[in-house]
Amino acid sequence: MRPFIHLFATHNSYYFYDVNTEGIIELTESLFNYLSKNKDIPEDVSSIEDLCVSDREMLLSLINRGYLSDHRVSTIRHNHSDDIEFQITNRMNELILQVTQSCNLVCSYCPFANRTDDSFQRNHSSKKMDWETARKSIDLLLENSSETENVCIGFYGGEPFMNFPLIRQAVEYADKQFVGKNVTYSLTTNGTIMTDEIISYLSDHDFRVMFSIDGPESIHDINRRKADGSGSFREAVDNLKKLYALYGKRAKEKIHINTVINPENDFDEITHLFDDPFFRESGIGINPSLVSSTKLENEIQNKDDFVEKFAYDRFRALMSRLGIVKGISLDPVSDFLALRQIEKNDGITEASGRLGDITAPGGPCIPGQRRLFVNADGNFYPCEKVNELAEDTMIGNINYGIDIAKAERVLNVAQLTADACKECYAFRHCSSCAVNSAREDSITAESKLAQCPAIRKSFRNNLRFAALVREIDSVYKRKINI
């Protein structure tokens, strides 16, 4: 039999991750080496001469306890394939309106700016959504959310405030239509063209607002520049502070900062943002993310010591969060990333049941149900991150509605790579979906498979972290003598 497992080691021990049971099991070095060399193991464990008696006993015990099963998924098909139409037409959650495709900034790493080819994403343009499209989209959410108590309408750009009149019109309409449901509003902004009127409006309607601030002025203004080349930090922070003051106690919950970390910069300098008492003490949540090269024309070149500093700070934060090291000061970026790592670890929980015979890897949400992104032309996509130029990811249009068959194909994107998925140890924790699989105008097996090494690498890191957490009590606390 060929166990469905992944072997890995830490500095201290040897393990396997059992895909069927989600168990992370410690092994002896000799058993680890045997399983590394032998992908197939005999049914009769007692006949394995390469193993000592105690290893054979351990192997037999593991098999008897349900580990090392060779069971694999027979058919790749998402669990919601049969009721996708019900889900989309009754439980729609979120609508995101691309109110404009234009932006007043020309950020160097923006996937929508400065493009010379349109293989992976559209370019900024002067297109704006019209009221008819916005109204019909809101009606669509109303029609399809009969079983959803909480609905959200998000506004996306470009820079959404380039079309503030449409935002206001949409909110006023939705407020009337959604009586009986809890409707909330959200948007992401570069924060540079917010007037006092806009700021009051956001507060009055309790918007959830995500500001893009990449670091202190010296870092932020490298990338987030206006068309004339000048920086945008001052305006963004001034407006953030005004909004914060107006939100009062709501600010911590409703205002967030999106920090795009560019590895071309010095990580220590990025975190100098928190030398400013406002950022250090306001309690506003930070959502850091690394610039992705996936949709950029030019590869990002890491600054020499970026990885070292980034990894070290995150390690410190992890040690602090896990209670190994106490009393150290942490920057919110590293702390957030450490928390996210711990959450991922919590997601690897044993005994969630054997893999089904017919199921799909983790990754896709139900397109159009979790959220529906409507672009300025009125075309529908599963989310705002998707390549708007890819015909395969367009799941409908404001004039003819949601194409359920197409949404189902997007949901079952893993069927394109079924053979690879069935054998992949990251099956349960895969993050691949149509968002990153679309190249040019289609989703292909090749483009989907191109993401797999990074996804598996990330999952391997998560497994090692999960093992590290276990080792803390038995190894590290002893070593550090806590």
Binding site: D83, R91, L142, E147, Q177, V179, G180, N182
Partner: protein, 355 residues
Amino acid sequence: MKCSVYPYSDDLYPLISNAEELVDHICITAVIYPIAWKKSIVHTSEISSVGSGSDFEKLSADTDCVIFADISRRKFMYGDIIEKAEFSLSSGKDVIFCTKIKNADEERLREKYPERNIIMKYANPDGMGEYGYRHEDINCAALGISGLYRGLDDVAAITGITSQFRKKNIRTASVTTNATLSLLGYYHFPSEIFTSGMEIERQVAALNAFFKDVERRSKCDIMLIQFPDGIMKFIPDVYDSYGVKTFMISRAIGIDYFVLISLLEILRPEAYECIRSMISGRFGFSLDSCLIQPVKIDREYSPEAQKILYTKNGVDKAYEQLGDLKEAMKDVVFSVYDDSTVYERITESCISKLT
């Protein structure tokens, strides 16, 4: 008195389907729902004498009174309710609140519209701590109704069974978690007891005092009680009461007959043997009837929604397997929710057990 009900949802269908049971000369002539609920309203067209729709102004125009239904689980509608109540009062109508409103709003409305009747129909939690630890015997029989998990529909069950007992001229008091059903003469369950901050023993004593009070006032032979929340926890990520409230009720009043609302994905006799033994072990009463609702749990999205979401499903499989269940547990009345005779059979079974 011609009344309209707002905001109406299908949970309140018994109000219009059991019109003859309405109390206080109430005659419901219109039900009004927010436009956002339109798609989930499926039953109103079956009652031709009741107008329905989303135009509040138009549909309430021809009525004497507007009844504001219990929205305790939809707090975000509070502002809309107050706005519409004020509109109704200013249009010369009376109002009945089955949903709790703030004292300040009540005072303001009474002061502004002194000539209008403003009636409160929800349980008043004031004085609930006065009972100390006293525990009184309750002499009437008690029938409990509960979903296995939170969110299974037990409103239809309590109204269906109540109607059957009333038809048999058995003095019946029904206790429900939905204050709007007080229009059918039901008593509103004082859920505030659970959040009162009183120590647990006093909460049980307060529940006992409430049930004793219902018995005294109604002089009932049987009390039907709709339990708040389910009797079991579903999964760790989703809030549910662990059956704690059921346990507390079972300490406050002896349950003589129990009706469980279950769901389609639990159809094996062995599962019901486990459930029966769990009910008896934890709560000390027996499983006497079981209604299977044609829904399945949406396991993927329930944790994300932080509540149990159900997906409707066909009942064919349930009917197929009902035979096995009936065979394995002959002393339990099993049926599927859409069975028109089921409430009569449950009532008969209850009478047979208790006499």
